[in-house]
Amino acid sequence: MTTSTTSVITSAQPVLSKPLEVNVTDYRSALRKALAEGMTEDARVIILGEEVGRYGGAYAVTKGLYEHFGASRVLDTPISEAAIVGTAIGAAMTGLRPIAELMYVDFAGLAMDQIANQAAKIRYMFGGQVGVPMVLRMQGGTGRSAGAQHSQSLEAWLMHVPGLRVYMPATVSDAYYLLKAALQSDDPVMFLEHKSLYTHKGELEDDALPVGQAAVRKSGTDITLISYSRMLHRTLEAAELLAQEDNINAEVIDLRTLNPLDSETLAESVSRTGRAVVISEDTFTGSVAAELVARLQVDAFDFLEAPILRVCGEDIPIPVSPELEAAAVPDVTRIVQAARTALGSRQTTGAAH
């Protein structure tokens, strides 16, 4: 009864393509390499979405794939978000491994029924008969003055839906390895990129941690700083500053995936340091950070020397003015301040929520 994935079609006819060499220099090219390899290795992998083909992707992630793999593997769609996701679901149930793209995670609202009521629940509702092995690539976050409808971080919506996997790479290497892993997943993976990371430079490491394991990006003893996606980098900067200015040795953890969620690594670290700050770009109330805090204050209760603080996006829509946009999400200063508060080393003056 609980056979995985496809029963209607038992196997695809692999028509393997020639490899497409991609030189990895940044987050974008790492993603592209994963896509290219995935398509070469498995003829069932197709890409569909708006402007993914001829245009090469709104953020150029899929550039060159259409030319290499052809129009039957890289499908430009009309502007029909709900149907894009729904089509990917049906294809995934019948033998393909689609990678659908929504140009902005902000457009998820148009497809939320297909995402949360269909993709996430099909395996369960149907008693395990079939899975939905699809990847839904989306990008979110601030950094381009793109305004309230093109700058959101909506991972908390997705993380709240049982059945969805949520991957959020912060590094070049994870962009590659997590996307490769997503293509192996028998469950629907919401793959969330950050628009301000595409040009982030870095190298491909030889290997990656398994999916579901958080990465300790910097070991430390005094306080645990937890983040993911773009905010990881600001958190690392904050840790640097804390080391230099306050002689504080912070541990920095990168979640990598929100589902699966590695509660153990977090609990171990916070139990050791006794203090923590969780940093996420999404709006404060109902943020991913809230979930982490709620777990940690149970798991590490006996070791906590201070409340676990959150540094998140403000509880406002993202304004278009570049100055206001920048102020609407966490910066290094706010992270450092929160860490100092948690360390009891400086009193804050700001209003509580």
Binding site: T77, G86, G90, L96, G127, Q129
Partner: protein, 346 residues
């Protein structure tokens, strides 16, 4: 039928007695099943009250169901028992699912509105009006990509004609020349809303044609006509032009088991119930000397005892284990979620 020239040479069986009898038997089984679903509810044995009977719509289910071929797939709306039966469902496992039992098609997790069977190509019933429509675009894309000769058909009610996703799906299917079929079972009502209270313009084939589909409308009272039209259209779809078929019929009973349709005029309802595809098929076969009343009674009796057995099966079936609740959220290879009990010791 409009928008295409029906090629009846393709469907030599359509007028044969064999096909007519097959359609009749299929319809009788469906109605017998549905009547017993109602009983299950009255006995308090169904999982919930959300039971949507397809009585009056058997012509659509049997006709299109027979026209579909092995390997084809389909999705249905919330009123999909008949279609699934017409495609070969096992009434025992269906009834068990509707009762929320472990031996049901979906281990008691899906119920009437989420029944599915990958073996028979049933990609799932759906409780979201319109929710299962784009699924068939995806399935059709698989068939085209994998060079398989199948069609995927979405069944939905007239209510879904006002859901935007239908038009997104039709456009995509037409744009990509996919073997997809959009089958609208127009039973004149969406809950208490008559179709003309939901749509300003009632020529739905015009909508489909404007999106580039081949489209037709047929009366569901005439199962043979449904079968013929569907056969022709599915042929078109198989060649890569998606199709739309409206089967008009009448919802004999209330929307769900508790609804007594107070919003319908008694006269209209009585008239509507005369649009009976079973009576029509039976009478025509008898009139042409191809069926006797005794033979019909035997068909009915067989169906009834088959469906009585399904009721007994469902009643005797075990409920799912509590542990099974945490299964099937993710692929079997993954760690299962566990009951959340936050623990702490002082």
């Amino acid at each position: 039928m409009s928008g295409m020239s029906p090629d009846t040479t393709n469907t030599p069986d359509a007028t044969s007695n064999k096909v007519m009898l097959e359609l009749l038997t299929s319809m009788v089984r469906i109605r017998s099943f549905e009547e017993r679903v109602g009983e299950l509810f009255l006995k308090g044995q169904s999982a919930g009250t959300m039971l949507h009977l397809s009585i009056g719509e058997e012509g659509a289910a049997a006709g299109v169901g027979l026209a579909l071929q092995e390997g084809d797939s389909f999705t249905t709306h919330h009123r999909g028992h008949g279609i699934f039966l017409a495609r070969g469902a096992d009434p025992n496992r269906m009834m068990a699912e509707i009762a929320g039992k472990a031996s049901g098609y979906c281990r008691g997790k899906g119920g009437s509105m989420h029944i599915a069977d990958m073996q028979l190509g049933h990609l799932g019933a759906n409780a979201i009006v319109g929710g299962g429509i784009p699924t068939v675009v995806g399935a059709a894309l698989s068939y085209k990509t994998l060079e398989q000769p199948h069609v995927s058909a979405a069944f939905f009610g007239d209510g879904a004609l006002q859901q935007g996703i239908l038009y997104e799906a039709m456009n995509l299917a037409a744009l990509w020349n996919l073997p997809a079929a959009f089958i609208c079972v127009n039973n004149q009502y969406g809950m208490g809303t008559r179709i003309d209270q939901a749509a300003a313009s009632l020529d739905f084939t015009a909508r489909a044609k404007a999106f580039g589909l081949t489209a037709a409308s047929v009366s569901g009272e005439d199962a043979r006509a449904v079968y013929q039209t569907a056969t022709d259209l599915l042929d078109v779809a198989r060649q890569g032009t998606p199709v739309f078929l409206e089967v008009s019929c009448y919802r004999f009973h209330g929307h769900a088991r508790k609804d007594k349709s107070p919003y319908r005029d008694a006269g209209e309802e009585a008239l509507g119930r005369t649009r009976d595809p079973i009576a029509r098929a039976r009478d025509s076969l008898i009139a042409t000397g191809n069926l006797t009343q005794i033979q019909f009674d035997a068909i009915q009796r067989d169906a009834d005892s088959e469906m009585d057995a399904a009721i007994s099966f469902a009643e005797a079936a075990e409920p799912p284990t509590l542990a099974s609740m945490f299964e099937d959220v993710y692929a079997p290879t993954a760690t299962k979620p566990a009951p959340v009990v936050e623990s702490w010791q002082p």
